[in-house]
Protein backbone atom coordinates (compact mmCIF):
# COMPACT_ATOMS: atom_id res chain seq x y z
CA UNK A 1 0.00 0.00 0.00
CA UNK A 2 2.88 2.27 0.98
CA UNK A 3 4.59 1.43 -2.30
CA UNK A 4 1.44 2.29 -4.25
CA UNK A 5 1.14 5.62 -2.49
CA UNK A 6 4.75 6.28 -3.45
CA UNK A 7 4.03 5.83 -7.15
CA UNK A 8 1.44 8.61 -7.08
CA UNK A 9 3.69 10.85 -5.01
CA UNK A 10 6.81 10.10 -7.03
CA UNK A 11 5.03 10.74 -10.30
CA UNK A 12 3.63 14.07 -9.14
CA UNK A 13 7.06 15.00 -7.73
CA UNK A 14 8.72 14.18 -11.05
CA UNK A 15 6.11 16.22 -12.92
CA UNK A 16 6.79 19.21 -10.69
CA UNK A 17 10.59 18.88 -10.57
CA UNK A 18 11.00 18.39 -14.32
CA UNK A 19 8.39 21.07 -14.92
CA UNK A 20 6.43 18.74 -17.16
CA UNK A 21 3.38 20.34 -18.75
CA UNK A 22 0.69 18.88 -20.98
CA UNK A 23 1.44 19.59 -24.65
CA UNK A 24 -0.75 22.51 -25.73
CA UNK A 25 -3.98 21.87 -27.58
CA UNK A 26 -2.83 23.76 -30.69
CA UNK A 27 0.06 21.28 -31.12
CA UNK A 28 -2.39 18.43 -31.56
CA UNK A 29 -4.74 20.56 -33.68
CA UNK A 30 -1.84 21.55 -36.01
CA UNK A 31 -0.71 17.95 -36.33
CA UNK A 32 -4.26 16.90 -37.07
CA UNK A 33 -4.96 19.58 -39.68
CA UNK A 34 -1.57 19.08 -41.38
CA UNK A 35 -2.28 15.40 -41.63
CA UNK A 36 -5.69 15.83 -43.25
CA UNK A 37 -4.42 18.53 -45.62
CA UNK A 38 -1.63 16.17 -46.73
CA UNK A 39 -4.14 13.35 -46.97
CA UNK A 40 -6.46 15.25 -49.30
CA UNK A 41 -3.57 16.58 -51.42
CA UNK A 42 -2.44 12.97 -51.87
CA UNK A 43 -6.00 11.90 -52.68
CA UNK A 44 -6.21 14.67 -55.30
CA UNK A 45 -2.84 13.72 -56.85
CA UNK A 46 -3.91 10.10 -56.92
CA UNK A 47 -7.18 11.06 -58.65
CA UNK A 48 -5.26 13.25 -61.10
CA UNK A 49 -2.92 10.35 -61.96
CA UNK A 50 -5.95 8.12 -62.46
CA UNK A 51 -7.59 10.61 -64.82
CA UNK A 52 -4.34 10.91 -66.85
CA UNK A 53 -4.15 7.12 -66.96
CA UNK A 54 -7.74 6.87 -68.20
CA UNK A 55 -7.14 9.62 -70.75
CA UNK A 56 -4.02 7.93 -72.16
CA UNK A 57 -5.56 4.47 -72.32
CA UNK A 58 -8.93 5.44 -73.77
CA UNK A 59 -8.35 8.70 -75.61
CA UNK A 60 -4.72 9.06 -76.63
CA UNK A 61 -4.25 8.37 -80.35
CA UNK A 62 -0.65 7.24 -80.08
CA UNK A 63 -1.53 4.64 -77.51
CA UNK A 64 -4.66 3.50 -79.37
CA UNK A 65 -2.67 2.89 -82.55
CA UNK A 66 -0.23 0.56 -80.86
CA UNK A 67 -0.87 -3.10 -81.68
CA UNK A 68 -0.16 -4.68 -78.33
CA UNK A 69 -2.09 -2.38 -76.05
CA UNK A 70 -3.65 -5.24 -74.13
CA UNK A 71 -0.42 -7.13 -73.69
CA UNK A 72 0.68 -4.68 -71.05
CA UNK A 73 4.05 -4.29 -72.78
CA UNK A 74 3.28 -1.33 -74.99
CA UNK A 75 6.03 1.30 -74.81
CA UNK A 76 3.21 3.83 -74.76
CA UNK A 77 1.50 2.34 -71.76
CA UNK A 78 1.47 5.00 -69.01
CA UNK A 79 3.52 3.02 -66.48
CA UNK A 80 4.50 6.18 -64.65
CA UNK A 81 0.86 7.14 -64.03
CA UNK A 82 -0.09 3.60 -63.08
CA UNK A 83 2.78 3.46 -60.56
CA UNK A 84 1.79 6.86 -59.28
CA UNK A 85 -1.83 5.75 -58.70
CA UNK A 86 -0.73 2.59 -56.90
CA UNK A 87 1.80 4.41 -54.72
CA UNK A 88 -0.62 7.16 -53.74
CA UNK A 89 -3.34 4.64 -52.87
CA UNK A 90 -0.88 2.67 -50.73
CA UNK A 91 0.26 5.88 -49.05
CA UNK A 92 -3.34 6.94 -48.39
CA UNK A 93 -4.16 3.55 -46.93
CA UNK A 94 -1.15 3.52 -44.60
CA UNK A 95 -1.80 7.15 -43.61
CA UNK A 96 -5.43 6.41 -42.82
CA UNK A 97 -4.50 3.45 -40.62
CA UNK A 98 -2.42 5.88 -38.52
CA UNK A 99 -5.42 8.05 -37.69
CA UNK A 100 -7.02 7.97 -34.25
CA UNK A 101 -10.22 6.16 -35.13
CA UNK A 102 -9.12 4.07 -38.10
CA UNK A 103 -9.12 0.89 -36.01
CA UNK A 104 -12.90 0.99 -35.84
CA UNK A 105 -13.15 0.12 -39.53
CA UNK A 106 -12.43 -3.21 -41.18
CA UNK A 107 -9.66 -3.31 -43.80
CA UNK A 108 -12.03 -4.09 -46.68
CA UNK A 109 -14.18 -1.08 -45.77
CA UNK A 110 -11.22 1.32 -45.70
CA UNK A 111 -9.85 -0.03 -48.99
CA UNK A 112 -13.26 0.22 -50.71
CA UNK A 113 -13.92 3.72 -49.37
CA UNK A 114 -10.48 4.92 -50.54
CA UNK A 115 -10.89 3.46 -54.03
CA UNK A 116 -14.37 5.02 -54.31
CA UNK A 117 -13.02 8.39 -53.17
CA UNK A 118 -10.23 8.25 -55.77
CA UNK A 119 -12.63 7.19 -58.52
CA UNK A 120 -15.07 10.01 -57.75
CA UNK A 121 -12.28 12.59 -57.65
CA UNK A 122 -10.74 11.10 -60.80
CA UNK A 123 -14.09 11.33 -62.61
CA UNK A 124 -14.29 15.00 -61.64
CA UNK A 125 -10.72 15.67 -62.84
CA UNK A 126 -11.42 13.87 -66.11
CA UNK A 127 -14.72 15.69 -66.58
CA UNK A 128 -13.14 19.14 -66.26
CA UNK A 129 -10.27 18.12 -68.52
CA UNK A 130 -7.47 18.10 -65.96
CA UNK A 131 -6.28 14.69 -67.15
CA UNK A 132 -5.68 16.01 -70.69
CA UNK A 133 -3.94 19.15 -69.43
CA UNK A 134 -1.55 17.19 -67.21
CA UNK A 135 -0.86 14.67 -69.97
CA UNK A 136 -0.01 17.48 -72.41
CA UNK A 137 2.30 19.11 -69.88
CA UNK A 138 4.22 15.89 -69.33
CA UNK A 139 4.21 14.76 -72.98
CA UNK A 140 7.43 15.35 -74.91
Amino acid sequence: MEEEKNIAEETLKKIKEDNIRPYPKWCFACKNYSFWILFFISAFLSALSTSVLVHVVFEDELYAEADDIFQGTSPYFPYFWLASVVLFILFLYVAFTKTKNSYKFETWFVATALILLILILAALCWQIGLGIVVHQIFSP
Binding site: E3, I7, Y23, F28, Y103, E106
Partner: protein, 196 residues
Amino acid sequence: MEEKNNISEKNDQELVKLALGNQEYYGYLIQRYQDKLKRYITRLSGGRQEDANDILQDVFIKVYKNLNDFDLDLKFSSWIYRIAHNETITFLRKINRRPTTYNFELDAVLVKNLKAELNVDVEKEIDQKIMAEDVSKIISSLDKKYQDVLLLRYMEDKDYSEISDILKKPPGTVATLLRQAKDQFKKEIAKNSHFS
Protein backbone atom coordinates in the same frame (compact mmCIF):
# COMPACT_ATOMS: atom_id res chain seq x y z
CA MET B 1 -10.81 23.75 -2.43
CA GLU B 2 -14.50 23.04 -2.31
CA GLU B 3 -14.06 20.92 -5.44
CA LYS B 4 -11.35 18.82 -3.80
CA ASN B 5 -13.82 17.65 -1.17
CA ASN B 6 -16.15 16.22 -3.84
CA ILE B 7 -13.40 14.50 -5.78
CA SER B 8 -14.82 10.98 -5.48
CA GLU B 9 -18.05 12.17 -7.11
CA LYS B 10 -16.23 13.47 -10.16
CA ASN B 11 -15.90 11.26 -13.19
CA ASP B 12 -12.65 10.81 -15.11
CA GLN B 13 -13.52 13.35 -17.79
CA GLU B 14 -14.16 16.02 -15.19
CA LEU B 15 -10.91 15.19 -13.43
CA VAL B 16 -9.02 15.46 -16.73
CA LYS B 17 -10.40 18.95 -17.24
CA LEU B 18 -9.45 19.93 -13.69
CA ALA B 19 -5.98 18.37 -14.03
CA LEU B 20 -5.31 20.54 -17.07
CA GLY B 21 -5.73 23.57 -14.87
CA ASN B 22 -4.11 22.25 -11.70
CA GLN B 23 -1.70 19.30 -11.63
CA GLU B 24 -2.72 18.39 -8.06
CA TYR B 25 -5.93 16.95 -9.52
CA TYR B 26 -3.85 14.63 -11.66
CA GLY B 27 -2.80 12.93 -8.42
CA TYR B 28 -6.41 11.84 -7.92
CA LEU B 29 -6.48 10.27 -11.36
CA ILE B 30 -3.24 8.44 -10.59
CA GLN B 31 -4.69 7.12 -7.34
CA ARG B 32 -7.79 5.98 -9.18
CA TYR B 33 -5.86 3.92 -11.72
CA GLN B 34 -2.55 2.93 -10.16
CA ASP B 35 -3.68 -0.41 -8.69
CA LYS B 36 -5.55 -1.57 -11.77
CA LEU B 37 -2.81 -0.52 -14.14
CA LYS B 38 -0.03 -2.00 -12.05
CA ARG B 39 -1.84 -5.32 -12.02
CA TYR B 40 -2.40 -5.14 -15.78
CA ILE B 41 1.21 -4.18 -16.53
CA THR B 42 2.50 -6.93 -14.23
CA ARG B 43 0.38 -9.48 -16.06
CA LEU B 44 1.46 -8.19 -19.46
CA SER B 45 5.14 -8.23 -18.56
CA GLY B 46 4.93 -11.82 -17.40
CA GLY B 47 4.84 -11.09 -13.69
CA ARG B 48 7.96 -8.97 -13.27
CA GLN B 49 7.05 -6.63 -10.39
CA GLU B 50 10.31 -4.72 -10.61
CA ASP B 51 9.58 -3.50 -14.14
CA ALA B 52 5.94 -2.67 -13.45
CA ASN B 53 6.65 0.41 -11.30
CA ASP B 54 8.99 1.94 -13.89
CA ILE B 55 6.52 1.34 -16.69
CA LEU B 56 3.65 2.65 -14.58
CA GLN B 57 5.42 5.93 -13.89
CA ASP B 58 6.23 6.34 -17.60
CA VAL B 59 2.57 5.67 -18.40
CA PHE B 60 1.32 8.35 -15.99
CA ILE B 61 3.82 10.90 -17.29
CA LYS B 62 2.96 10.13 -20.91
CA VAL B 63 -0.75 10.41 -20.14
CA TYR B 64 -0.18 13.75 -18.40
CA LYS B 65 1.80 15.14 -21.35
CA ASN B 66 -0.96 14.09 -23.75
CA LEU B 67 -3.96 15.13 -21.66
CA ASN B 68 -4.96 17.71 -24.28
CA ASP B 69 -5.10 14.97 -26.89
CA PHE B 70 -7.60 12.92 -24.90
CA ASP B 71 -10.70 12.34 -26.97
CA LEU B 72 -13.71 12.97 -24.74
CA ASP B 73 -15.76 10.51 -26.83
CA LEU B 74 -13.49 7.75 -25.56
CA LYS B 75 -13.58 6.33 -22.04
CA PHE B 76 -10.61 7.60 -20.07
CA SER B 77 -9.98 4.10 -18.75
CA SER B 78 -9.75 2.73 -22.31
CA TRP B 79 -7.30 5.47 -23.24
CA ILE B 80 -5.04 4.96 -20.24
CA TYR B 81 -5.15 1.16 -20.64
CA ARG B 82 -4.17 1.57 -24.30
CA ILE B 83 -1.19 3.71 -23.34
CA ALA B 84 -0.24 1.22 -20.61
CA HIS B 85 -0.48 -1.66 -23.08
CA ASN B 86 1.68 0.11 -25.68
CA GLU B 87 4.24 1.33 -23.14
CA THR B 88 4.63 -2.17 -21.72
CA ILE B 89 5.13 -3.72 -25.15
CA THR B 90 7.62 -0.97 -26.07
CA PHE B 91 9.49 -1.45 -22.79
CA LEU B 92 9.72 -5.21 -23.28
CA ARG B 93 10.85 -4.76 -26.87
CA LYS B 94 13.49 -2.29 -25.73
CA ILE B 95 14.98 -4.76 -23.29
CA ASN B 96 14.56 -7.53 -25.86
CA ARG B 97 12.22 -9.56 -23.75
CA ARG B 98 8.73 -10.01 -25.13
CA PRO B 99 7.13 -12.68 -22.94
CA THR B 100 5.65 -15.57 -24.86
CA THR B 101 2.87 -15.78 -22.29
CA TYR B 102 1.16 -13.43 -19.91
CA ASN B 103 0.87 -13.98 -16.21
CA PHE B 104 -2.49 -15.69 -15.81
CA GLU B 105 -2.75 -16.52 -12.15
CA LEU B 106 -5.96 -18.33 -11.37
CA ASP B 107 -7.60 -15.85 -9.05
CA ALA B 108 -11.21 -15.57 -7.90
CA VAL B 109 -12.10 -13.04 -10.59
CA LEU B 110 -10.80 -15.22 -13.38
CA VAL B 111 -12.63 -18.31 -12.09
CA LYS B 112 -15.89 -16.37 -11.71
CA ASN B 113 -15.65 -14.84 -15.18
CA LEU B 114 -14.62 -18.04 -16.92
CA LYS B 115 -17.42 -19.92 -15.24
CA ALA B 116 -20.05 -17.41 -16.26
CA GLU B 117 -18.91 -16.85 -19.83
CA LEU B 118 -17.64 -20.24 -20.90
CA ASN B 119 -20.30 -22.30 -19.20
CA VAL B 120 -17.52 -24.44 -17.74
CA ASP B 121 -17.42 -25.24 -14.06
CA VAL B 122 -13.78 -24.33 -13.66
CA GLU B 123 -13.67 -24.88 -9.89
CA LYS B 124 -15.14 -28.35 -10.23
CA GLU B 125 -12.80 -29.22 -13.05
CA ILE B 126 -9.86 -28.04 -11.03
CA ASP B 127 -10.88 -29.90 -7.91
CA GLN B 128 -11.51 -33.16 -9.65
CA LYS B 129 -9.24 -33.32 -12.59
CA ILE B 130 -6.76 -30.61 -13.20
CA MET B 131 -4.73 -28.33 -11.07
CA ALA B 132 -5.11 -24.57 -11.03
CA GLU B 133 -1.81 -24.11 -12.76
CA ASP B 134 -3.06 -26.18 -15.68
CA VAL B 135 -5.71 -23.55 -16.41
CA SER B 136 -2.96 -20.94 -16.51
CA LYS B 137 -0.96 -23.24 -18.76
CA ILE B 138 -3.92 -23.74 -21.09
CA ILE B 139 -4.51 -20.02 -21.43
CA SER B 140 -0.80 -19.42 -21.85
CA SER B 141 -0.61 -22.02 -24.60
CA LEU B 142 -3.11 -20.06 -26.71
CA ASP B 143 -2.00 -17.61 -29.39
CA LYS B 144 -0.87 -14.21 -28.18
CA LYS B 145 -3.81 -12.50 -29.92
CA TYR B 146 -6.18 -14.69 -27.90
CA GLN B 147 -4.31 -14.05 -24.66
CA ASP B 148 -4.61 -10.29 -25.23
CA VAL B 149 -8.39 -10.41 -25.45
CA LEU B 150 -8.80 -13.02 -22.70
CA LEU B 151 -6.66 -10.97 -20.34
CA LEU B 152 -8.74 -7.84 -20.91
CA ARG B 153 -12.10 -9.61 -20.94
CA TYR B 154 -11.80 -11.95 -17.98
CA MET B 155 -9.10 -10.47 -15.79
CA GLU B 156 -9.61 -6.76 -16.36
CA ASP B 157 -13.36 -7.13 -16.85
CA LYS B 158 -13.50 -4.96 -19.98
CA ASP B 159 -16.40 -5.09 -22.42
CA TYR B 160 -16.03 -5.58 -26.19
CA SER B 161 -16.06 -1.91 -27.04
CA GLU B 162 -13.39 -1.13 -24.43
CA ILE B 163 -11.20 -4.00 -25.68
CA SER B 164 -11.62 -2.63 -29.19
CA ASP B 165 -10.48 0.82 -28.02
CA ILE B 166 -7.55 -0.53 -25.99
CA LEU B 167 -6.16 -2.91 -28.62
CA LYS B 168 -7.20 -0.67 -31.53
CA LYS B 169 -8.95 -3.49 -33.34
CA PRO B 170 -12.41 -3.29 -34.96
CA PRO B 171 -15.21 -4.42 -32.57
CA GLY B 172 -16.09 -7.25 -34.99
CA THR B 173 -12.53 -8.56 -34.86
CA VAL B 174 -12.56 -8.46 -31.05
CA ALA B 175 -15.79 -10.48 -30.97
CA THR B 176 -14.31 -13.04 -33.38
CA LEU B 177 -11.07 -13.32 -31.41
CA LEU B 178 -12.95 -13.82 -28.16
CA ARG B 179 -15.18 -16.48 -29.67
CA GLN B 180 -12.19 -18.35 -31.11
CA ALA B 181 -10.30 -18.00 -27.80
CA LYS B 182 -13.25 -19.41 -25.86
CA ASP B 183 -13.61 -22.32 -28.30
CA GLN B 184 -9.92 -23.13 -28.05
CA PHE B 185 -10.01 -22.88 -24.27
CA LYS B 186 -13.01 -25.23 -24.07
CA LYS B 187 -11.30 -27.73 -26.38
CA GLU B 188 -8.10 -27.65 -24.34
CA ILE B 189 -9.89 -28.00 -21.00
CA ALA B 190 -11.84 -30.98 -22.36
CA LYS B 191 -8.61 -32.56 -23.63
CA ASN B 192 -6.96 -32.11 -20.23
CA SER B 193 -9.98 -33.56 -18.40
CA HIS B 194 -10.00 -36.57 -20.73
CA PHE B 195 -6.39 -37.47 -20.12
CA SER B 196 -6.31 -37.03 -16.37
